[in-house]
């Protein structure tokens, strides 16, 4: 098996799985075999059509869009299903990323210690880091939820902006914690041995290592890991939302007072949804950290760590998990594609002062998109999917 085909395969199968989700209910049983066959076919097609560079670009795009999908799913629990207005996603995103960084790295020794300071470094495995990221992020949500969730909704919005700013200030100014404002480097890559024979991982079966032998680029492995996380989180959320618990969340969103009158403890349910969403966001942050390898506070600007995710969810359709994922891919495509297109605009000829402003045009496009969606299509592309809770069916 050639290197290129293996790469294409790793790209094609996850993609086919995502497409498989869109199949109508009648063909659902065929989803897995179709995805595997389709994935191989897609892989063969990509090897024939695309150059290696394009393939690598698509992979890196797929990883980041997948991570944004996880964040968008987390927001969907809070806003889409429960109606909690959280505009401090950056806080949970960055807490997750820095938590896993501190858990999985080992503190620098010798000469390097002078350049890197961190509170601790446990050298824990990847999965421990991701789970810890979710836990700490959920804890932050618990702390912010206590004073605000019982009050009117605006207070949560204002406080969530506040917590995001405070978290960013901490990671920017506290050197002892995570080397701020310098980047914290050396976050390990899970299963790196599959792409690089020099790194050893004794617990992986020999057959798997041989299968991945020809692979020369790590990011294809990570794409599979991100896809697995995305699928598991998606399935779990879908199950939860269809449970009686999820039904209460939607009832709170629609009519809070009558839900309370039916004997539901509204603020407890709100807190659970808020914390659960934050846990998912924290795990998204962890996936981001292991992809970037080095992170610092500037990666979590409210612009692309909060607003971008809101636009993704609003475009795809709030209260629709597939919409949240699709929105993430589309909006991230626009976000990444705009600078490429803007390069061809004769900005400098319009006015000399505009010469360097190309990169900012995508801010304008994202802002316009958000406003236009809210005015003309507040339910997004998909809108809410109507269903009955699982207790009544199946």
């Amino acid at each position: 098996m050639s290197d290129a085909f293996l790469k294409a395969l790793l790209l094609g199968v996850p993609l086919a799985f995502v497409v498989g989700r869109l199949l109508p209910a009648k063909f659902r049983t065929w989803r897995v075999p179709l995805a595997i066959i389709g994935g191989w076919g897609l892989a063969a097609l990509m090897v024939a059509m695309l150059s290696t560079g394009r393939l690598a670009y698509l992979t890196s795009f797929g990883i980041l869009a997948g991570i944004y999908s996880v964040l968008s799913l987390g927001l969907n629990i809070q806003w889409g299903f429960t109606g909690l207005f959280n505009i401090g996603i950056a806080a949970f995103f960055s807490v997750g990323a820095f938590t896993t960084a501190l858990f999985t790295t080992t503190p620098a020794e010798g000469a390097a210690a002078a350049f890197t300071e961190q509170a601790f470094g446990l050298g824990a495995p990847f999965l421990v880091g991701v789970l810890a990221a979710g836990a700490i992020s959920g804890l932050v949500a618990l702390l912010i939820g206590v004073p605000t969730l019982k009050l009117r909704e605006d207070y949560l919005a204002i406080s969530s902006i506040g917590i995001a700013e405070v978290v960013r200030l901490i990671f920017q100014n506290e050197r002892w914690l995570a080397n701020g404002p310098q980047p914290l480097r050396g976050i390990p890559r899970p299963l790196f041995c599959l792409a690089d024979s020099r790194a050893a991982c004794p617990w992986v079966p020999e057959a798997v290592v041989t299968f991945f032998e020809p692979l020369s680029s790590y990011s294809f492995v990570y794409l599979v890991i991100v896809t697995l996380f995305l699928v598991v989180i998606y399935v779990l959320i879908e199950q939860l939302i269809r449970s009686p618990w999820g039904r209460v969340l939607r009832a709170i969103r629609e009519e809070e007072s009558s839900t309370a009158m039916s004997g539901k403890h509204v603020s407890a349910f709100k807190m659970q949804a808020f914390v659960l969403g934050a846990v998912v966001m924290g795990m998204g942050g962890a996936l981001y950290a292991h992809h970037m390898v080095a992170i610092d506070y500037s990666h979590f600007d409210p612009l692309y760590a909060t607003f971008l995710i809101w636009v993704m969810l609003m475009l795809g359709g709030s209260a629709n998990n597939l919409g949240a994922i699709l929105g993430a891919f589309v909006v991230y495509g626009i976000w990444q594609g705009t600078p490429e297109l803007v390069r061809y605009l004769p900005l400098a000829q319009i006015h000399p002062s505009l010469a360097g402003s190309g990169p900012y045009i995508r801010f304008l496009i994202i802002a316009l998109m958000l406003i236009l969606i809210l005015i003309y299509r507040p339910k997004g592309i998909f809108g809410e999917q109507k269903f009955l809770a699982t207790v009544t069916k199946r």
Partner: protein, 351 residues
């Protein structure tokens, strides 16, 4: 036996304390305690009173800038019933509009002890109504269609985030991301006010202008018919509509006044520090903290809130990195939300 029955009726000490902290006096005590804690931390770090006093004076000046934004934000919050997250960026627009005017006019000599010339005053006079107009245009093309379709407050708040981003991206496109000054390379010396307190003359100008504008707003709100209508609408929008107040007209005036004040605040913040595209976003947290502290929809409460926030921000720089200023504002807001979410001047039970 009798004792065990009567016990639950007698409020315990814990409940009494809780009730006290939830009263207005209790909230004031909490605020006082925050200041005492800040002063104690400063003492523990060996910071003398002589160093704290100038910080308090600077805090009062900063309050002038914050209050200009917070008064407008509070009125808008009360009248339109959603948090306008674009308010900080309206301040940015004011500063950059004044920068354009200053750039267009020929530079004269600095006026008296100040670092700026007449150009900045003209810039200020142009920026204030212009920002009011920008605020109204945003309302006309973004918020009004949403109001017409009966969108929830959260959707309006989200649209205001979009508007904030829209406005800021235009600033980025035309001015770049770097910071700048109204007058590049002009020195801004400090003078000694009295016994060891040094301030820049510009800061005295800022404080004076803020006071003048606040008095004008007071006159508008108390002495004119439209001002009374604004206060009534901010206090209770549906009751105001029932009593025959033209709420669309009130909305128009509220945006013009709120935007104008924000524009003035932005120019002053740019004069005090520097102009950056994120300057308004940076101020948003202190603005909201002031508004909530002084009860939503109460412009005088916002003024008091701004005073508290501004002084706490500046005094905290004695022992915290200056960058944490908005964080201090946020912590004060959270403490107050825990005990008295309706703010210092609100009616019990919230809005």
């Amino acid at each position: 036996m009798n004792e065990s029955i009567s016990k639950p009726l007698e409020p315990g000490l814990g409940r009494k304390l809780k009730a006290f902290f939830e009263s207005r006096n209790g909230a004031a005590v909490i605020l006082l305690m925050i200041f005492v804690v800040i002063a104690l931390i400063a003492r523990a770090q060996g910071i003398t009173f002589a160093r704290l006093l100038p910080l308090v004076v600077r805090g009062v000046m900063l309050s002038g800038i914050i209050s200009l934004g917070a008064i407008g934000l509070s009125l808008i919050f009360g009248v339109l019933n959603f948090p306008n997250f674009a308010h900080g960026d309206l301040m940015t627009v004011g500063a950059y509009l004044a920068l354009i005017i200053v750039g267009l006019l020929p530079h004269g000599q600095p006026l008296g002890p100040f670092s700026f010339g007449y150009e900045l005053l003209i810039g200020l006079l142009v920026a204030m109504p212009a920002v009011g107009l920008v605020a109204y245009l945003i309302d006309r093309f973004v918020y009004r269609p949403l109001r017409a379709s009966n969108s929830s407050a959260a959707i309006l708040a989200m649209a205001s985030l979009g508007a904030a981003l829209l406005v800021r991206s235009l600033v980025y496109i035309f001015f770049g991301a770097d910071f700048t000054f109204f007058y590049r390379g002009r020195s801004r010396p400090a003078i000694e006010l009295f016994s060891g307190i040094r301030v820049r003359p510009d800061q005295l100008f800022i404080l004076g202008l803020a006071l003048v504008l606040i008095v004008l707003i007071y006159l508008l709100l108390e002495k004119t018919k439209i001002g009374k209508a604004m206060r009534a609408t901010a206090d209770n929008p549906s009751l105001a509509r029932v009593t025959g107040i033209n709420t669309e007209q009130v909305v128009l005036i509220t945006w013009l006044v709120g935007g104008g004040l924000a524009g003035a605040g932005g120019v002053m913040y740019g004069l005090d520090a520097q102009l950056r595209p994120e300057m308004g976003w940076w101020l948003l947290l202190p603005l909201f903290a002031s508004v909530i502290l002084g009860s939503i929809g109460n412009p005088y409460g916002a003024l008091a809130g701004a005073l508290v926030i501004g002084i706490a921000w500046q005094v905290s720089t004695a022992f915290l990195p200056a960058a944490y200023g908005p964080g201090v504002a946020f912590v004060i807001m959270i403490v107050l939300l825990l005990f008295r979410p309706q703010g210092l001047f609100g009616k019990p039970g919230g809005s």
